[in-house]
Symmetry: C2
Subunit: 181 residues, 2 copies
Amino acid sequence: MSKAALDRQSMLTAMAAHVMLNGLANASLRPLAKAAGTSDRMLIYHFGNKEGVIAALLDFLAEAYIGTLDNVLPDGRQLSRAEYLDQLSRHTRGPAFQPYAALWWDIVSGAARGNASYRESAGRVMAKMLAFVESHAPVGDADPAATARFMLTLIEGAQMLDAIGCSDIADLALARAFCAD
Amino acid sequence: MSKAALDRQSMLTAMAAHVMLNGLANASLRPLAKAAGTSDRMLIYHFGNKEGVIAALLDFLAEAYIGTLDNVLPDGRQLSRAEYLDQLSRHTRGPAFQPYAALWWDIVSGAARGNASYRESAGRVMAKMLAFVESHAPVGDADPAATARFMLTLIEGAQMLDAIGCSDIADLALARAFCAD
DNA sequence: GCCCTTATGTAGCAACTGCTACACTTGTGC
DNA sequence: GCACAAGTGTAGCAGTTGCTACATAAGGGC
């Protein structure tokens, strides 16, 4: 890895930490640079302009977010669907995902306003999440694709309710999800 | 209504329109004032400081958002739960709610970052939504409270997926929700 | 007529924004 | 050894931010 690429990587690591604490929406060059131990001048030099900085950060963060999924769940194939959903929510609503939660809503908010980078990044994360849910799902479902999407939608709704302090609603909702099983 | 209160009201109306177009996250005094046909000086005068302006706006917007619910749905009591969920999503994901969608994610994002005004506003909206869903729900459910929360969580998850351009996931999820019925 | 509250315009401050100009030092290929 | 590209520090520009100081009306109670 070249020196430049190495610098980029360490800058992104430091900036990602800063952004997870302070939010992505109002991130500006000078605080980001300070967090990365450099100057705004250098961020522009390495990433072209602010948009480039943010785009690189989104990439980096999406990878990191997705990375938390790996090896986090024991295979759910032997569980019932209700048990699997429970395991899934335990992780996605638990402490491992917590640092990313606020960040995620920054990204959703940006995507909802039509920002292409944000939308693309969010889409990539969702696709990966879906693939993960599908690949670990219990076998023997009549329509596994639909069930995976159903679980994902529920989980995301629950995460939103967590974010605004309405976890109680989400808890009952998830408990109700597979009551027919 | 006093002149001051009337002014406040018309200012809020104008600012709300501006915020629905341009977002709440980066709203600043001078553009807000321009939208309201006044000056930043006057906004501070009437609302104390920027925080006061935003808090008043959140109040106003929450009321307006909730207001779109009234008389929008025929009573769902004769429908099956699947049909009711379908009707519900048709409205909450449809054009009537569209102007509020992006705004909603601004608020969620703020709430997730711990802003008390945002969180309170979001909580009030969710409580009202829940009451609405519960009060129109089909009769004869074994656990209507859980079912209402289940539907609400699904709807919100679907709205998030819409916001990031993954409506296809949401569509299948909703179709799957009451497949046991 | 006078006073005092309410309301408003103008100007400006200090901080911060993204970004640039310019000068300078390295390291590398030849 | 030298030219040239890559990398970096300093200074600054023009614009925006929330907010304030100051002056000035306008209206109502006495």
